[in-house]
């Protein structure tokens, strides 16, 4: 259906017995070819939303269409156009990478010759050709995630759901996966719905970000627009003489509220924006504080989360103790 959004959800709700509303009336629209980042802490409702949109969990209320198909009435049609790498890299430790791809391709009904070619192509694409005939039980976390991604792509899906694809990965593996997601969106026009609790990931990959907290979308827009909306940068100062740290904090406190910094530094969010930077430098100079390093930090998506919810993204999951993490909220 030309012109139709890749994903549309209206008033999507999921309640669990004796639990809170894991998803509490979500509306969203993701355009074809877009990378949509769904950002929020553990237990915010990200995975539950993905499970509903991928037909693995019926919503309690609301509707959604994925690839032009209703998730409730046309589940099989939805599954035919989507690929998904869910939160757990769901692999069989006793099978090899190649055997996984062959099985997945066969279950999707690919002809024999195409199964082999597609498997070889995807193994090469995710850098697993050399490890293709080794049992997956011996793979590293990054290799498992890359195989997971390859499996999600076997049947040429138009829409890809990635549920926290880089959680637990080292920096190198994370970067490799990011590159692959960017390539998929840019080269093949695949729509990507990516959940993450990493600000950097959403910032780096997503054309638009939806910030979810306690089952509701609290902010949505491009990362730049969201940051510009709350717009206050922070300044971090490392005094040359460590004994001046206390006085440095006192000076900075005149310009805004304190924010987290390294133990040797002081930092504040500038109440008057980056225009205050020169005043900060003058004030430090007036107090005869010699500065080893002074850095201006642009606003982050965490600042957006803080502005919208009153909590920082990093701390939100811990404050929400008692709310089950997404993966646990979803019945097996």
């Amino acid at each position: 259906m030309a012109g139709e959004a890749a994903i549309v959800a209206e008033g999507l709700v999921r309640e669990f017995k004796k639990g809170p509303r894991a998803v509490d009336g979500i509306d969203l629209r993701v355009e074809p070819g877009e990378v949509y980042g769904f950002l929020g802490p553990n237990g915010a409702g990200k995975s539950t939303t993905v499970h509903m949109l991928t037909t693995l969990l019926p919503p309690t209320d609301g509707t959604a269409r994925v690839g032009g198909h209703d998730i409730l009435a046309e589940g099989a049609a939805v599954r035919a156009v989507i690929g998904a790498a869910l939160q757990e890299a769901a692999l069989d430790p006793f099978l090899t990478g190649r055997e996984h791809l062959q099985l997945q391709a066969a279950l999707h009904g690919l002809p024999r010759e195409e199964r082999r070619e597609r498997g070889d192509f995807l193994l090469e694409r995710v850098g697993l050709t050399e490890a293709a005939d080794r049992k997956v039980g011996g793979y590293s976390g990054g290799m498992k995630r890359r195989l997971d991604l390859a499996l999600a792509l076997v049947h040429h899906p138009r829409i890809l759901f990635l549920d926290e694809p880089t959680t637990g990965l080292d920096v190198q593996s994370r970067t490799a996966l990011w590159n692959e997601v960017q390539r998929l969106a840019a080269d093949r026009g695949v729509t990507v719905f990516l959940t993450t609790q990493y600000l950097e990931e959403a910032d780096m990959l997503a054309n638009r970000v939806g910030i979810i907290d306690r089952g509701r979308i609290v902010a949505e827009g491009t990362p730049e627009a969201l940051k510009a909306e709350i717009g206050r940068p922070s300044v971090e100062v490392l005094p040359a003489d460590r004994d001046d740290l206390g006085r440095t904090k006192e000076v900075l406190a005149r310009f805004g509220e304190s924010v987290t910094a390294s133990t040797a530094s002081a930092a504040v969010r500038l109440a008057g924006g980056e225009g205050q930077l020169a005043d900060v430098v003058r004030a430090l100079d007036a107090e005869d504080i010699h500065v080893e390093r002074l850095q201006l930090h642009a606003p982050t998506l965490d600042d957006v989360f803080l502005a919208k919810t009153g909590r920082s993204l990093e701390g939100a999951a811990m404050q929400d103790t008692g709310a089950a993490p997404d993966a646990e909220a979803v019945p097996a």
Binding site: T54, T55, L56, L57, P58, I71, L72, A73, G75, A76, V78, R79, A80, I82, A84, L86, Q87, E88, A90, L91, D92, F94, L95, E99, Q102, L103, Q104, A106, L107, H108, G109, K135, L151, P331, A332
Partner: protein, 259 residues
């Protein structure tokens, strides 16, 4: 069966067989434990053959049938653990996202059980013959023993799969293992039913379908072709398999949720 479903069954069956054979910890005990028990019992209980009415003069011939049923009990553990692993790891969700038919999944999963059952049955037959047991019903009888052993394995394996699908837990599967062993030992496992002196034990053994599975295999080893024993044995094994398959299919509908 459509070609698409046949393709799905074939690939899932291959996966089930491959992953079973790649777990020596699952295969080896299921072969050795019954043989060790056979060796202990055929030595230690030899004097039971002196009881009036005991159907053979070597306890090895009598006890050989037990290995096939005991091996099948390991199938419950193997099938259940494999299914529980798939649920716990999220692999079942991955399969749910493909156009996979539930029937194909169940049939495919149970193929590994049947393969393990075949390896067990052939091993037990060869070990029994090497140890000096004889099969009165001859080569054809040996083939029927293998067929019945496979049906028993399928039944117990499906019980394991059912428990895994209902609970999603490998621990729960391990928990039913002692119960199934109790069912084995409350049957005519050590003595013919008419020689069991304790009334309640004899009654339990009479109502226990495992007794008839044992007696069907035993009849082929000890007396040749006994239509009634074979009919009862196949009926009991088939009945257990059928009930377990119906229950597992229903459990799969719940475990494999998708719209």
């Amino acid at each position: 069966m459509s070609s698409a479903v046949a393709l799905q069954v074939g690939h899932l069956a291959r996966r089930s067989v491959v992953r079973t054979l790649r777990q020596p910890a699952m295969v080896v005990p299921s072969l050795f434990f019954p043989l060790i028990l056979l060796s202990v019992n055929s030595g230690g209980l030899e004097s039971a053959t002196n009881l009036p009415g005991f159907p053979t003069d070597t306890y090895l011939d009598f006890a050989l049938a037990v290995t096939f049923v005991q091996g099948a009990l390991f199938s419950a553990n193997s099938a259940g653990t494999n299914v529980a692993n798939d649920i716990e790891s999220g692999f079942l969700k991955r399969l749910s996202l493909t156009p996979l038919r539930r029937t194909a999944l169940l049939v495919g999963q149970l193929s590994g059980v049947v393969t393990l059952g075949l390896i067990q049955a052939v091993t037990f037959l060869i070990a029994g013959l090497v140890a000096g047991a004889g099969i009165e019903a001859g080569f054809a009888g040996a083939l029927v023993i293998v067929a019945l052993a496979l049906l028993i394995s399928l039944g117990f394996g499906t019980i394991g799969a059912f428990v895994a699908l209902r609970t999603g837990s490998g621990e729960a599967v391990q928990g039913i293992f002692p119960l199934l062993f109790a069912a084995l030992f409350l049957s005519s496992v050590s003595l013919p039913r008419d020689l069991i002196q304790t009334d309640w034990f004899r009654t339990v053994a009479t109502y226990n379908p495992v007794s008839y599975m044992l007696e069907a295999i035993r009849s082929l080893i000890l007396t040749g072709w006994d239509g009634e024993a074979l009919a009862l044995g196949f009926a009991c094994a088939g009945g257990v398999a059928l009930v377990a398959l119906v229950a597992a299919s229903a459990a799969l509908r719940t475990a494999m949720v998708r719209t």
